[in-house]
């Protein structure tokens, strides 16, 4: 009996050794690196993908946005890294030019995504001048203003501010009449700080921009020290006059818990944020106040001397050129860009496909974002120009933080920022 058991065990082991590699060879293992917080939801979506594609297994990796780009670039340079990568739209060209993104032209041609590549917004950010496509636009969004209607009413404000001056005055009025924070924005200077967006929206609305393309095709700055100092002065006034608390100097992100909580608890009347953060605020309010109507409304950014503005932002999906399974990776990319992902799993984001975006049902609270999309522009020259966006973003955050905290005068900080960006543009242009 004992001998029989030993023989049976030996047979099972031999069979496992013989069959194992064959079975393993039949399964393609992909890795998808994702940077947002909806890990659970994405895992559910990937489970669905695995069901539809029995020969493919997907491992979901998560990393924070702050470290995502440099971590991936380091890995890709030495032949490593995940198969499919979640990236910001403005990173795609530089990642592609660094040899860290697989050109997708053949895959797009042989197996077009959704209703075709032309249906995707922000294609120009995915393609280099020589026509190489390095990423598939996945999600799109823009920032808008968010208001607590009950606090505006209490402060005697009956319509949303239309200009930057009105925004400042209304913010001061909220503080004066209610004692609460008016426009509470994150004033910190981390390398991925939100002040970068606010400053650019301010400049764009006044007909200025940090990077522009000149008629001769070269790139340059369309900002003077005075323009930058004026912008710094405007945002600093909220802090010095006390309607944005100085504690927000330690907040750098639109989704900073201090800002979200202040909005939810009615300690703050106004904020600027992307839609997924706003949806989070609405969910937090509903959870804390079940059954109560939502006291929130969104609206477009204030007008400057020329227009009102914000950016068309979003994410893309990139395939690692080191991937051993580009066909399967493309299959995964196409699945992630399909409609059910946005209706069932990744519901805090909007699809980058125009045909799918048309079907989005904008709730009354989200109308401001829909309106703002009409005024939004792409990063265009910022992405095409010679200076890396990340470095300009960091320099802007540092300079504004230095000015807003009082480390530097507005004039000095503006001068330093101008010099830093000019240098970045020269370094890369050489």
């Amino acid at each position: 009996m004992r001998n029989l058991l030993v023989k049976a065990a030996a047979l099972v082991i031999a069979a496992a050794i013989a069959i194992g590699p064959a079975w393993a060879q039949g399964t393609v293992n992909l890795t998808f690196r994702f940077n947002d917080t909806e890990e659970k939801e994405l895992r559910a979506a990937l489970d669905q993908f695995e069901k539809q594609n029995p020969g493919i297994k997907v491992t979901l990796q998560r990393i924070g946005w702050r470290d995502a780009r440099d971590q991936y670039l380091r890995e890709a340079a030495v032949g490593q890294g995940p198969d499919v990568v979640h990236v910001a739209q403005v990173w795609v060209k530089e990642i592609g030019q660094a040899g860290a993104a697989l050109p997708l032209n053949d895959l797009v041609k042989s197996s077009p995504p959704g209703s075709g590549f032309t249906d995707f917004m922000a294609q120009e950010l995915a393609q280099t001048k020589d026509g190489k496509i390095f990423g598939l636009p996945w999600t799109t969004d823009t920032w808008a203003m968010v208001y607590r209607t009950d606090l505006l009413k209490e402060a005697g404000i009956d319509k949303l501010p239309d200009t930057w001056t009105q925004l400042h005055d209304d913010s001061a009025q909220v503080k004066k009449r209610t004692g609460k924070t008016g426009f509470g924005f994150p004033a910190g200077g981390s390398s991925s700080g939100a002040i970068w967006f606010l400053a650019n929206f301010y400049w764009w609305s006044n007909g200025k921009a940090m990077v522009v393309q000149k008629p001769d095709g070269t790139y340059g700055m369309n900002l003077t020290v005075a323009d930058i100092a004026d912008c710094m002065h405007y945002f600093k006034s909220f802090l010095t006059e006390g309607h944005n608390p100085t504690s927000n100097l330690s907040a750098s992100d639109a989704h900073d818990p201090a800002i979200l909580q202040a909005l939810v608890t009615g300690q703050q009347a106004m904020a600027a944020m992307p839609p997924n953060t706003y949806k989070q605020v609405l969910e937090m309010y509903t959870a804390a106040n079940p059954g109560k109507p939502l006291p929130f409304v969104s609206g477009p950014f204030p007008k400057g001397s020329v227009t009102r503005s914000s950016m068309i932002g979003g994410r893309m999906l990139v395939i690692n050129p080191n991937s051993k399974h580009p066909q399967e990776a493309w299959k995964l990319v196409k699945f992630l860009a399909s409609e059910p992902i946005f209706t069932q799993y990744y519901t805090t984001q909007f699809p980058a496909q125009r045909s799918l975006l048309k079907n989005v049902n904008w709730s009354p609270e989200l109308k401001g974002f829909a309106e703002q999309l009409g005024y939004a522009r792409t990063w265009g020259p910022y992405s095409d120009g010679p200076a890396p966006i990340g470095a300009m973003w960091n320099a802007t955050g540092r300079a504004f933080s230095a000015a807003l905290s009082g480390q530097r005068s507005e004039q000095d900080a503006a001068q330093e920022l101008l010099q830093a960006v000019s240098k970045l543009m020269q370094n890369r242009a050489q």
């Binding site: 440099d70 200077g189 504690s247 909580q261 470095a391 230095a402 970045l424």
Partner: protein, 300 residues
Amino acid sequence: MRGERLFIAGMLAPAFVVLALFYAYPTLQNLLVSFTDLSLLGLKRGGNWVGLDNYREFLTGPEFRHVLFNTVVWLTALSVALRLLMGLGIALLLDSALLRRWRLSTIAKVAVLMPWATPPIVAVVVWRWMLEPQNGIVNAVLRNLHIVDDPVAFFADLRTVWPSVVMVIVWNTVPIVAVSLLASLQSIPDELNEAAALDGASRLQQFRYITLPFLMPTIVVLTLMSVFWTFNNFVYVWLATGAGPGTFTNVLATEIYIKAFVDFRLGYSSAVGIVMALVMAGFGVAYYRFVAPRELKEGM
């Protein structure tokens, strides 16, 4: 004789190979990169030779003096001085007859060691929460006691940011100093203090002329080791303030990180790293000149 030499060389070879692979090669590679304009976006194609440009830019740039001052004065000198003073105070307290009489000695030692057992990352995160402007316990207490009207952004206000960072560093690292000094304190023969007391020496005089001279070798070693640990520290400043507000708390280690992984300038960042290594080498020379011979002598 020759065989003996070969045997010694053979015994030393593995250590030599490990040192060459893990210290010499990366150092030389870093030195080479520091003479190029290598970017994180250009890792595959490599960098162009720029000679001493990176060094020139850093050493003559506006940030150099500021970063060096922050690293030397705020991060290193102040935190090392406070660590030693507080460590000495705690060691004296732990060694006091009072704690022994009340049988609190062991509990006190465990309590003192707790911060040391906390990883630096956890220590910074915990303190960030405690000092958080809106929901932090420190601000809540200050406001309830009417000491402040508006919450204080400890890690963002220019008046409080460095003291806050230094406090976290000292809190996390003072136990090792205290425990080391306690061990030295306990090695001082009781007879010396008893004889001095009989001769009429006051407590202060006993401390000045007996305790302190006995502790001095340990204090010197701890000072130099603390300087090593602190000067090149990145974690505390980066996690607490991200080198901000602005560049207010930027130190050499955070400057290296920002230039390499935010601005993607690996060549420039390597040059800053080499400058930092040279300063550290200066501390190393001081260690071998003043401390190592004494330790060797005591060992013999």
